[in-house]
Subunit: 435 residues, 2 copies
C-alpha cells in the first residue's frame, strides 16, 4: 500500500474529517499555515453580512444594546476560556496580543513592588520582547533573557514576571507550563503565558497550572480572520487588585457615566481600553465557536497523528529528517545563513521541532540553508507553509481542515522539490514584504 | 410655506442630496447619531465579502502580499490625511483612540525631559483623561485640568503636552486649533488634538495650525463601522525622534526579520503595535473613501446649514431654545441632575452648543433635566439622537445622509414630545447598558 493509499484509509476513519467542509478552502491547496492565519469558517461571511446589514445597517447605534455588542468582548472571551483551562470570567477579547502583553506586564510590575525584571528567552516571538523593551524605555522594567534550559536558574529575587510563549513560534518546542509556573512562583515571580501557538490547537490548563496571566492570538488556530483581536486571561485571584495603565473608557466601571476619574470595571473587564472592533470580534466568535464544537482534545489528538504521519511519509519519500540533538538550537535570528544549513546536502532537512509529539506544538519546523526558496517552491506547488527567518521552513497543522492525504502529498512534493532542485530557481528567492 | 415644504425645496437644491443613496439606511428613521456611529456605506458589505471570500478564503496567508494587507494601515491613513490637513505619510490607522492617545502622550513626555504635566480640561471625553491617569499611575505624568477659558494661563513651564478634543463630544464647542497650538508652543508645550468629533465632519488644518500630534475616531463621521480602528497623526518634524512604549512587532523596521531587539520603523509606521484587524480596517476604508469623494468642505457647509435650519424649525415649532450665555457650562458629569434643567419649563431646551455655527462642531446639544427620557421618547418616534450624562440631549448631523426634511421633522417630533409630555412614560426612563 502506498502512503497515499494509507492516508486515504486514515481519512476515511477520521471522526474529524467531516469538519473540513465547515471551512471555505481553495481548491488544489494544502494549507499548512493555519498557525499563521487560520482558514475561513463558512459561517463567517454570513455572520458578518448579518452584523453589517441587520445590526449596523438597520439598528445602527441601538445595536450596542439590542445586539449586545457591548458584551461581545466578554462573551467571546468566555467561549475561549474552556479551550485554555480558564473560567469564563477570567478571559476577555481585547486589542492585540502586543497591547495585551503591555497591559499584563504593567499589571504584574505594579503588583511586584521592588522587582523590575521581566524574564524571557532570547528568540521568543519578537513582539513579546519588544513590549518588554517598551516598558524598559519607560524605565519601569528590565529585560532579562535566559536560554530555555537556564530559565529556572535565572529566576531570582529581582524577577517580577516570567514571560514565556507556551509553544515556540519557530521551533514548536513546548514548555511544561505547570513546572515553569511552579518554579517562578517559588522564586516569587508571576507568570504570563503567551498562548498564541497553543490556544485552539491543544488543551491548555491555565488554572490547573496555577498561571497568573495569559494572552493569545485570535487569527491562528482560532480562525478569527486576518489580524483578529486577541484575548487575555487574568486568574481570578489577581483580578481585584489588577491595575493596568491602558485605562480607557471601556474598562471603566461605568463608561456611560462619563466621569472624569477612572474607576476600573470589576474583574477582567478592566482590561478593555477603547471600543472593540465589532466586525472583527464577531468574525472571531465564528472561529471560536467552530473550534469549541470540534473540541481541543480531539484537535490535538489528530494534530499529533498528522505530524507523526508526515514524518513517516517523509522518511518513506527519502527525505532525511535529522533531529537536532545535543546541539543548542540557535533561536536568535541573524542575517547570516545558519551554519547548520550549510553543512547539509539538499536532501536533508534538520528537524528543529522536538521529535516527541508531546514536547511540541501543532507544527513541524525544519532548518535548511535555503528555507525561504524551498518554501516558495512548495507554495508554487500549492503546499503552503511558511518561512521564519533566517532558515526555518515551518509547517503547521490545523487538524480541523487538514487530511492525512495532505500529509502524504506534502511529503511527495517536498521530496520532489528537494530532488529536482527546482527551489534554486531565481524567482523563489525574491523576498516578499511579508514572509 | 410650511417648514417641511421649505425643507423639501432645500433638499431639491442640495448638491449633496444624491449621496444619501450611497448609504444603507433603515426606513422611517431620522438618524442624528452619526457622531456616535456613522451609517453603513452600501459598498462596505460588498467589500468585506470580497476580503473574506477572495482574499482570506482563496489566497489565505498570501493576501498579506497579494492583497497588500500589510500596507492597509498606511493606505487608509494616507486617505484620511487630506481630510485633516495632514500629509499622507503623517497619518496611520491603528488600534483605538485610547491606545493611540497613550502612545502619543508617552512620545510627547519622552521628548519633553523635565516636564511631566499633561494639561487638559475637566469634562474632556473620559478616555482622554483616563489615559492621562494611566500614565500618572505609571509615575510618568501629572494630570492638570483647567477650564476652557483658563487653559492658556495654565500653560506653564511644567506642561509637557496640551491634550484637547477639538470639538467637545458633549457640547459641540470647538477650540481654535491654531490659537491654542500657538499658545502651547510659546509655553514650550506640545499639542495633541483629539479629532474624534472633527475628522470627516469638517475641514481641519493640522499642519497649518502647527499641531504636533493628533488622534481620531473611525466609527463616527468616517463611517467605518462599530468600533472601527482609529487613526493617529505625527507631524513630520517629530517622526524621526518619536519613541513610544507600545513597541510591537508591526512597528519594527523589519518585522519579518524576527530580531530580538526593537528598532522602530521609519516615520509614522512606528505607531503600529500588533497586527491590524484587517476586516475592520477594510470596512473603514470604504467609509473614508466615501467621505473623501464627497469632500469635507461640502460636508461642513451642509452641516452648518442643517443645524441652522433645525434651530429655525424649532423656533417655528414653538420650542424655545435658550442659549447658555454668560453662565459657565458645567462639563463635569455628576450624578445629580443639572440645576439648569430644574428651572426650565418642559417646552424649553437649553442650547449648550454655541449658537454661532462657526464655533461648534457638527452637532447641537440641549440640556434638559430629563434628557434621557426625552431622547428615548424621540427614539420611539424614529428620531435617533443620543443622551450624554447627566442631562444632555445630543443631535449630530452627518450631512452625507441627512436631509433638510429630517430637520423639519425632528423639530416637529421634538415639539410634540415636549408638548404631550409623552417622555414622562415610565418606559422611557429605563436605562440601557449603553446610553
Amino acid at each position: 500500500m502506498t502512503m497515499l493509499e494509507r492516508a486515504r484509509e486514515m481519512d476515511a476513519a477520521d471522526p474529524l474529517a467531516k469538519y473540513r467542509d465547515r471551512f471555505d478552502l481553495p481548491d488544489g491547496v494544502i494549507y499548512l499555515d493555519g498557525n499563521s492565519l487560520g482558514a475561513l469558517p463558512k459561517t463567517t461571511p454570513e455572520r458578518l453580512a448579518q452584523v453589517m446589514h441587520d445590526e449596523w445597517g438597520r439598528d445602527l447605534i441601538k445595536s450596542w444594546n439590542t445586539a449586545d455588542w457591548i458584551s461581545l468582548p466578554q462573551r467571546v472571551g468566555g467561549k475561549i476560556a474552556p479551550l485554555i483551562g480558564a473560567e469564563p470570567h477570567e478571559v476577555i477579547v481585547a486589542d492585540s496580543v502586543s497591547v495585551n502583553l503591555f497591559k499584563l506586564m504593567s499589571a504584574a510590575l505594579a503588583m511586584q513592588k521592588g522587582r523590575k525584571v521581566i524574564l524571557s528567552e532570547p528568540g521568543n516571538f519578537p513582539t513579546d520582547l519588544y513590549m518588554i523593551q517598551g516598558l524598559e524605555k519607560q524605565g519601569l522594567a528590565t529585560q532579562r533573557l535566559a536560554d530555555r534550559d537556564a530559565i529556572i536558574e535565572a529566576l531570582d529575587e529581582d524577577v517580577a514576571l516570567l514571560l514565556l510563549t507556551h509553544v515556540h513560534y519557530k521551533t514548536g518546542q513546548k514548555y511544561d507550563m505547570a513546572a515553569l509556573t511552579k518554579a517562578a512562583h517559588e522564586a516569587g515571580a508571576l507568570v504570563l503565558w503567551d498562548l498564541s501557538h497553543t490556544g485552539g490547537a491543544m488543551p491548555v490548563e491555565l488554572n490547573e497550572s496555577g498561571a497568573d496571566f495569559a494572552v493569545g492570538c485570535g487569527y491562528k488556530y482560532l480562525n478569527g480572520g486576518p489580524g483578529a483581536p486577541a484575548y487575555a486571561f487574568v486568574a481570578e485571584r489577581h483580578q481585584d487588585a489588577l491595575e493596568q495603565p491602558l485605562s480607557g473608557w471601556m474598562g471603566h466601571a461605568q463608561p456611560f457615566a462619563f466621569d472624569d476619574d477612572y474607576q476600573p470595571a470589576p474583574g477582567v473587564d478592566r482590561l478593555l481600553c477603547g471600543t472593540a472592533p465589532i466586525l472583527s470580534v464577531a468574525a472571531l466568535e465564528e472561529g471560536v465557536d467552530l473550534v469549541a464544537e470540534i473540541g481541543v482534545d480531539r484537535l490535538w489528538e489528530k494534530s499529533q497523528a498528522l505530524s507523526g504521519f508526515l514524518l513517516v511519509c517523509l522518511e518513506d519519500a527519502g527525505v532525511t529528517t535529522r533531529a537536532v540533538r545535543g546541539e543548542p538550537v540557535e533561536l536568535r535570528t541573524s542575517r547570516q545563513p545558519s551554519s547548520f544549513g550549510r553543512l547539509r546536502t539538499n536532501g536533508v532537512l534538520e528537524l528543529v521541532s522536538p521529535g516527541d509529539a508531546d514536547q511540541r506544538g501543532s507544527q513541524l519546523s525544519f532548518r535548511h540553508e535555503d528555507a525561504y526558496a524551498l518554501c516558495q517552491a512548495l507554495i508554487a506547488r500549492g503546499v503552503i507553509g511558511d518561512f521564519r527567518a533566517p532558515d526555518v521552513l515551518r509547517l503547521g497543522f490545523a487538524p480541523a481542515y487538514l487530511r492525512f492525504e495532505d500529509m502524504a502529498e506534502t511529503a511527495r512534493h517536498l521530496a520532489e522539490v528537494l530532488e529536482s532542485g527546482e527551489w534554486r530557481q531565481a524567482e523563489f528567492s525574491e523576498r516578499a514584504a511579508v514572509t
